[in-house]
Symmetry: D2
Subunit: 384 residues, 4 copies
């Protein structure tokens, strides 16, 4: 894939990898055991500008293109799916504000978000809904004077909900979908950490309960009624792309660990890499990695060029890479044998983390429904 990159993209990718090698890789297993990140790494991310990669420079952001954003996620995904998930959600909220927020909302929030002084959470998913976003039960209602809204409901599986300072909450106001900003510490906002996840252990997932939370009407982002049709899609576009590239990072991790193990680990007289069945795994993993990288690159570039097919390409990228990551992680454990079944080997973590990628930001099954509809409708139109 690298041959398709511009020189600045290559340079930044190199920087990303170095940052990760120094500041992430050595600590990631400890963070996984702790089920949290220390404040210091989040500060470092803020200072490096990596939390502001797509925020425009007027708000102190880097304003990088999508390809660069993809490379950032890939480089971080190589070491830690959970930490990359912070890039995912921070960007999802920031980009929604950048595109749909009022001047005041942007002025207030984008710079602290860009600097990592505030962590954002994207509060869409509800306990009873899974990926079926249209059936929101969280409810906003007007108080008598209309300047204030009362919020009740529940959100679940909210990444970085445990530490977020700002929540973008989706709900319904008189049956119209709305999204609204909420600050941590507001009365009636209750945050329950979700512990003991299979993967993404340090991503600070939380369940969030709203008990008659009062918010000023000015906290609404975008026009009431447009939250699911216009706001969420912007956020999800970034979310899927980030997850897709993070999955490529994990796939590369599996591949690199596996070929290294195969090249050096002796079983009896021969190295593991001489066992043909292992070779089949490695060939498949390498081919999948190549395909996954190119699909992500093509998706990012389509988004950079504002092509209408960007939406489909991002779905394809998330769909393909998350499944390939699951296969690769399972095969990487198999290649490592018993050593791969101990958490001191990173492949055990990849095996746990990869599975969540088939579920986060839209399950594989949701992607199959969306993609097949897009493909079939297109054919129907051509025919019709």
């Amino acid at each position: 894939m690298e041959t398709l990159l511009t020189d600045p993209q290559k340079t930044r990718y190199q920087e990303f990898k170095e940052f990760v090698a120094t500041n992430v890789q050595p600590f990631v297993e400890q963070w996984d055991r702790d089920q949290r990140h220390p404040a210091s790494i989040i500060e470092q991310l803020g200072q490096s500008g990596y939390l502001s990669s797509t925020i425009s420079p007027e708000y102190g952001g880097k304003g990088w293109d999508f390809v660069t954003y993809g490379l950032l996620n890939e480089a971080f995904g190589r070491a830690s799916s959970a930490l990359t998930d912070l890039l995912t959600v921070q960007t999802m909220v920031a980009m929604t504000l950048l595109k749909w927020g009022t001047d005041k909302q942007r002025g207030q929030w984008l710079t602290p978000l860009a600097r990592g002084e505030v962590i954002a959470a994207f509060a869409l998913t509800e306990p009873g809904a899974g990926s079926a976003i249209e059936s929101l039960k969280t409810e906003f209602r007007h108080t008598n004077n209309g300047d204030t809204l009362i919020l009740n409901g529940q959100k679940k599986w909210i990444s970085y909900g445990q530490v977020a300072g700002l929540f973008l909450v989706f709900g319904k106001l008189k049956e119209r979908p709305v999204a609204c900003l909420l600050e941590r510490g507001i009365a009636g906002l209750e945050i329950e950490p979700i512990q003991e996840m299979l993967g993404f252990k340090s991503a600070g997932l939380a369940k969030i309960n709203f008990h008659d939370v009062e918010v000023p009407s000015s906290s609404i982002v975008g026009k009431p009624g447009f939250a699911l049709s216009h706001l969420a899609p912007v956020a999800l576009q970034y979310g899927r792309l980030s997850t897709a590239c993070s999955a490529v990072g994990l796939l590369r991790a599996c591949f690199e660990e596996s070929v290294l193990y195969a090249a050096t680990r002796q079983i009896g007289e021969r190295t593991v890499g001489k066992i043909d069945m292992i070779r089949t795994f490695i060939a498949k993993m390498g081919a999948d990695l190549g395909a996954a990288q190119l699909l992500c690159y093509a998706a990012c570039r389509a988004e950079d060029e504002h092509l209408p097919e960007a939406f489909t390409k991002i779905l394809v990228a998330k769909y393909y890479t998350s499944r390939a990551a699951v296969r690769a992680a399972s095969d990487a454990v198999q290649i490592h044998g018993a050593s791969g079944c101990q958490e001191s080997s990173p492949v055990a973590r990849y095996y746990r983390d990869a599975k969540l990628m088939e579920i986060l930001e839209g399950t594989t099954q949701i992607h199959e429904q969306l993609l097949s509809s897009l493909f079939v409708d297109q054919a129907a139109q051509l025919k019709g």
Copy 2:
């Protein structure tokens, strides 16, 4: 499968399931978190006779047939792969002693093993060998007078090594493979617990180091030179069968949890079970479960009938069921969505445990080599 069972087999299977429902299922998640079993459950197993199922009554065992042994492992595997692994190793050592031990060895050990007063560990695998058992590095050598042996070497991934009172250790004595009994507490025997496994967390895995351990020559089991050709195969036969049936239990667990979830869990307007992609998963899982049960039954029965094809059938059973368990666990998590990615749902544990079944008691790849050789050699003979 149940229609193929005899009445006593059915009755016992029912008893096993009741024991598990009462004494195992409610506690298994705690044990997994603790990475150990309490002494009480091991005592209960001893008292119930479940650790003596294949030991002959003359030593206080149940002397059950292989089909019943298989059902026992399936019933326990439904709840806990890690605890079932205790049935596996206890039986592996006991049956090796029963068949190849001296009268004195049998008299001394089989009754305490049957009662669970002593836990046994099967110490074959070495750090540098994986499934390649022929390349043992653990070494026995005679002292000058010949009555005593000095043992040096290392073993790894030894299930229940943390708590075992008796070790059956394989090594080489003047290039001839030997197996030898060792008691816990003997000088020079060092046991390092292996923590943080991906799965089988409470199975007490250990690394074992031998530093000039002195054992009397009378501790050798079987004839020197025959340890790998005659002793290990007996043990592995039981080990594979136990693992195969345990995998069927896990597969049934995935299936039962998944259909229950599909039947009851509402996503928006419909239950999960109405989503066709989920239906594909469920149909595959149900068919795999049916096939896995029958392969195990046929393997057990072939062993009961002393058929020459029992060896192949047990390999097929282990090979098929462990892979099917991995598929089923991955699909069960997918069916459960985000809920399946939290350890409060059992399917997250199944996902972690299942993967080890493709590695323990011979990896999938070793099984492919053994099976294809058997099949091809047979064809070559018919032709030749």
Copy 3:
């Protein structure tokens, strides 16, 4: 599987295999090229009683149990999926008549069917319906006096429609599903051979058109309204079981050809069977074959014992074996390399025939819908 058979079942299975080796295997490639069977083999089948295997002795049939019927189909499926399909459809029609026909219908047709003097076709599928049998468009209507019915409509993919003397035709009479017997040669009955099938080339598939065909009301089989709910299920039960066992035969053919090739074919210095990737194929194929045989055996036996779970078990058997046959045929071609891509090697034919097994007698997708509904409904009932 053979160890589970009774002695008479074993003996007959041996006879079936000998008949096939002598009378089918040597000619099957020629029949495939000709896209038809010679009359002589159908006569032989009639004389041997193999077309009457499940017909009761009172009509000159063998009255064998289901396990024996399964073995018959397996033995024929080893050589020719297309010829086995004759056993399938002859039995489907005969058994429907035996169970639901009037005395007169049974008296008239069962003996000639048992003897192979008349070939029967099961005319259910329509051009626009695929496996969705509830949406029949073929229409019966009464003439004025009511003694005669007028039939209009179309059927497609009717096995042995080219040569059948008797058709069991499904349609609607005043919106009620009915089934009716039709003899070849009747006015208005038009038979169009379907040539150039991908597989099952000699199974004589036909499209059948009915243009104002007049039939006496006494030709209706069973009670009007019950054709889809009571008659078709009886036939399909036999049809699926026959196809499942035929698929096991094909799977065994792939396995036997592959291990023989692997054992004997030299590539450079070593036999194909020494290539590990080929070994993976062979191990999988052997395990699948074992599983497929047992699932068919269990399904047949459940039917023999009139167990309520027979319906599910037969669905599982057809679902599993047809997919396993497709995998095995693809791997068998791969093992044979270029030689397997030429029709002079039987594996090329298996590759073509196997794919139809995923479509005939209910597609894989229909099976997934039926099975998951059965599994999930069961769980819902237990819970509810």
Copy 4:
């Protein structure tokens, strides 16, 4: 993929597709049945310059880049794998001559090859060797005076061997691998057509026997000893790339036929595309198509840029696309149901043709060996 193309590449791709739509698509089923191509289409190919796409203009060729060559193969592969195979072999021989031929050889042959006046065959594979090219048995020996060589041996599975006017034959001369040009009609050259292939039916495969064929020493191409290390790799590079792109064409054909069918075909009340299981197939096929196109594009471009990784990328492209084509063809048949099992539907042909792509120009297994060695050796070097 198209967004990555230059304008001239896009224009040519459009022309290729139009040529195929007019001159190939309408006739391809007839050619398949006939097991041959009419002379007219080969003439047309010659006139259009499509047989000379990579030959330099000095010999009357187009001298197109690799990306354009890939697009040409993709466009033809959409309609006919067998005809695309002519582009494959003609290019393989022409490019070998262009790079390694003497001035005289190039002067004599390249222009007629470019014009399609002579069809070339690449005669490497032998009956007993499969993809193991190092074990050639075809033998050249010098006559007494040394100006003439005597050739004996056999070649098999030689595409377009039935009609070729020029053969590039590989063999051994005093244990050194050599390649040599041979004209049709020379004494002792015997050509046996291979009929009844599973797929690629019109690609004119032949077995070729050499009985004391006399050739002048000047017919040797390249330096003796270098035929396998230098000549064959050049040819195989083009052959694999052509096959990879042809497989993408077949994959696109499966996808386009399937979405069209899903969009328009009614089963009962709904279109096939509304069935979720079909949607899973379509989503997978679409994602695979996207990945396959990008892998081929990246491989072509790496070759155009003379990157060292081009070799690996081309292997990955062939490995990935041929397997994806097999999956897609099987799913396309399944989507089409019984209609897809009749040769009047193109998907039946795709199912037959696709399988050969996993075998031609190096089997999937050979690719796994090559790729894993490349990957593992690289890791070993980085480590070492």
